[in-house]
């Protein structure tokens, strides 16, 4: 089986080790003998995205995000919205999440238009929400919820609109806006999140879920043979335990 991944702005929007997400998808595909082809999508590229099975869009420095935003509006908005509606499986982290939304309104400076692929808006915040996050996510109705761990670092406060679900609920951490205890966003098979880490290495079940969605759209339902995720699960559980311990300690100190 073969899958094609569109990697958006790999050099500019890659501030936080987010490339590890693409690495993880590639390795986990290889482990099932699925050939994953990665195509870098850069500034000015306006070709159709329907043929892609997976897409990744990371976060970047503020300065870069303005230029990226302009390019998205100019060259990619229509194609990306169409592909997402068609079921493209996508992961957008931090800046990627914000630019897929309706807009980002910073505290100072002009409003940054998003491509409205996700029904959400982001307002500028006065301070950075920084720290480890534990998210509880019910990926499919009726399916057992999974816990994911990551690290957030953002001043933006994201609010979901009616057309958009969250990725999950915040168990520990700030989340989208510190008010509604929601983390991330989902529309069709497009997922947005503030979780760095990077997200997928320590959360292999979510990585496999993305691969499964991509395969299903192309080949119909496919059961992925399991990989040896003993290290991934052990590491995730250890970090979750460590985060909970630190959180408890902070609560007690207060």
């Amino acid at each position: 089986m073969k899958l094609k991944l569109a990697y958006f702005y790999p050099t500019l929007m890659n501030l936080y080790g987010d490339r590890g997400n693409v690495r993880t998808l590639a390795e986990r595909c290889r482990g099932r003998e699925i050939e994953l082809t990665i195509t870098e999508i850069g500034i000015g590229d306006s070709s159709s995205l329907i043929a892609y099975d997976l897409a990744f869009f990371g976060g970047g420095q503020d300065k870069e995000q303005i230029k990226i935003g302009e390019d998205l509006m100019r060259a990619k908005a229509g194609n990306l919205r169409a592909a997402i509606k068609d079921g493209l499986t996508m992961l957008a982290v931090c800046g990627g999440l914000q630019l897929l939304g309706n807009y980002y309104r910073p505290l100072q400076g002009p409003l940054l238009q998003g491509i409205s692929a996700l029904d959400l808006r982001t307002e500028g915040g006065a301070w950075l929400a920084i720290g480890n996050v534990i998210v509880q996510a019910e990926l499919e109705p009726g399916k057992k919820a999974i816990q994911m761990v990551g690290f957030e670092n953002h001043s933006g406060r994201t609010y979901l609109g009616p057309e958009c679900r969250p990725l999950g609920r915040v168990v520990y951490g700030f989340g989208n806006n510190g008010e509604d205890r929601l983390e991330g966003a989902r529309s069709f098979n497009c997922f947005g999140t503030y979780l760095h880490g990077p997200l997928l290495p320590k959360n292999p079940d979510f990585a496999d879920y993305l691969i499964t969605l991509a395969l299903a759209r192309k080949y119909g339902k496919v059961d992925l043979p399991p990989l040896d995720d003993h290290l991934e699960v052990q590491t995730r559980d250890y970090v979750i335990h460590r985060v909970k311990k630190q959180y408890l300690f902070q609560k007690v100190r207060k």
């Binding site: 500019l12 690495r23 390795e27 300065k63």
Partner: protein, 423 residues
Amino acid sequence: MLKLGEGSNLPGKIVLKLFPDLLPVLVPRFQKGWILITGTNGKTTTTKITVALFKEYGFQVVTNARGANLVSGIITSILLAKLHPTREFMADYAIFEIDEAVLSKSFHQFQPQILVVTNFSRDQLDRYGEVDSNVNKIIELLQKTGCQSKIVLNGNDPNIARIGAVVPPENRIYFGIKEEAGSSEFGLLVEQEIGKGIETGLETPELDILAEEIGADYLKGSKFTLVYRQRIHEAIHLKLPGVFNILNALAAAAICAIEIDPDLQKLSAVLNTVEPSYGRSERFNYRGASVFLFLVKNPVGFNHIIQLLNQAQGNKRILLLLNDLTADGKDVSWIWDVSLENLWKISGIKEVVASGARAGDMALRVKYSSPPAIPQTVDYSPQRAFRELAIRLEPGDDLLILANYTSMIKFRPYLLKVCRKAE
């Protein structure tokens, strides 16, 4: 008596609480003034070489005690220096590395003669913020204070060039490696990823003091030719290993050239004998085996060490230590920006062990870096990991320890205890 660990800023913190206006009292007590050194990597080594140089020229110098580089740490260092408190001047020069996060707030209090910026790259995003905002802070700072200080800048680093643009040319000096000389190694010296593909409008400035004809010989150090104001200093032998240390040496040479001796007469002798700083490319001897300790705090630094290790002959077993304490930056995602794939180009690696508070994360990074078919182990206890690795050492095996900041600081005393320090 307080037991001071490496990097301790504590006594200074206490003193500052009692005497909040202490810094303006201490600052003028250095007859020739202050030299401040900041940047992502290379502060400690550049400071060390500069101090050695100035002492060689006969100056009395005060510098960081135990690497403490916050304002409270600088004060601690002065208090610990056993100087005459009643004399008008405590020493000739105060030469200090200073943490880039505190520089802007305290710069106006120091009013340094010279400010050195070694380089800027992505480091602890949760503590330092983006590279851009750090650069902007320094630019604002220099514009506000009217640029009285002389500024020494890394001309190879495009982020630093932006700073130079706001300094009058007579007050700035660029150091760097001449482009042809670095060749393929060059790409790892600065963080080139960010900004690629977008016109940054940055030109690489002309270098005032530079190194060329570089020959690196692994841990024996490097040879190079130094050029300053048309004066050529050939076959300088730098004892410190790695091309990145040539940059640190050039920064120190630049300071010496503009402040005390443009002929750099004593430079060669000092570079020939300077020892590595605490935890940086240090060598130990464990029951006949060579143990090397390398500090890797951020992607560029880690890539430098991998590049250095490319020249390492023989068989080796690698221990990777990763912590996530406040001083490290709690976020460990930076390890995914390290080109760890290049580690596997090094010959003779027989196994990898990941340890420290985030051993699992490091092991995952290894797993997803296309490693060769060698044993990969996770052990959250660095001391136990070391002991068990040591048992597996065969004659001729080297043990390479790559540790980030607090994991190095915590581990080094144990290493000193069980090893002999080697030459």
